[in-house]
């Protein structure tokens, strides 16, 4: 199942990047997509069912507009702090455990934290929990954790 999905994804990706449809190109596209799918299908979609994959993808896409809005806010906040002559920063390291079960959830949360207001992830993992470096005191991450848990369907 994951083999066929990876093969189709790789084929679409090849067509997008090449944009040509000559015989030799299409044949090599099929050959190399098969090769890549054979070697790495368990890495990309390892052991996930099709229906849960579709649900998670749709939820992730629904999460993106909110994330982009937060990225925009983050950038204006960092610009304000950077250009303020008084250098109003008060860094701290926050530790918390979001109790996410999957690697995908941890990756999404860690990258989202790095992209949003005044926070950078410095440690993330199932056992170690999260350590977040924040530029100003009192950063609130509960909303983002809730949204990522919703993507994972763990609520």
């Amino acid at each position: 199942m994951s083999f066929i999905l990876t093969f189709i994804l790789m084929l679409i990706f090849w067509v997008l990047l090449s944009g040509h449809f000559g015989l030799i190109l299409v044949v090599s596209a099929v050959i190399f997509s098969l090769l890549v799918a054979y070697l790495s299908h368990d890495l990309l979609l390892g052991g996930v069912g099709l229906s849960s994959l579709i649900i998670k993808s749709v939820r992730f896409i629904a999460y993106l507009p909110w994330l982009f809005w937060e990225i925009l806010l983050a950038n204006f906040e960092v610009i304000y702090i950077t250009l303020h002559p008084g250098m109003k920063i008060d860094p701290e390291v926050i530790e918390f455990d979001p109790a996410l079960k999957t690697d995908v959830g941890i990756t999404i949360l860690a990258n989202s934290i790095t992209l949003t207001p005044g926070t950078v992830t410095i440690e993330a993992g199932k056992k170690s929990g999260f350590k977040v470096h924040s530029l100003t005191k009192g950063a609130d991450l509960t909303e983002m954790v809730t949204k990522v848990k919703w993507i994972e369907g763990e609520e």
């Binding site: 997008l16 990047l17 944009g19 990225i71 925009l72 983050a74 950038n75 960092v78 610009i79 950077t82 250009l83 250098m87 920063i89 008060d90 860094p91 701290e92 390291v93 860690a110 990258n111 989202s112 790095t114 992209l115 005044g118 950078v120 992830t121 410095i122 440690e123 993330a124 350590k131 470096h133 530029l135």
Partner: protein, 104 residues
Amino acid sequence: MDIGTIICGVLLFIGCFFILVASVGVLRFPDFFTRIHPAGKTDTLGQACVLIGLIFYEGFDFISLKLLIIVVFLLVVNPTATYALANAAFISGVKPWKKGDKRQ
């Protein structure tokens, strides 16, 4: 001048502004962990703005699709690289700067 060129110019200007501010931030902030903030975040939006500006300049065809793919990869790769840097510094024992400390 058509509308695509104007949008392209505006987005290029905004992108360059973000990247300039990121460089100023890297120079002004006091230590490693605070310097990562402008380098990892403001750069991401700056580069994304420049590339989206180029998409508007190019019009919508295969080349702009490739540019869009680069934008998506940047949004994934940039925070991951920032995390790798910060995590390496944290593991090797760099102490985060506290308010009132001297600049490093």
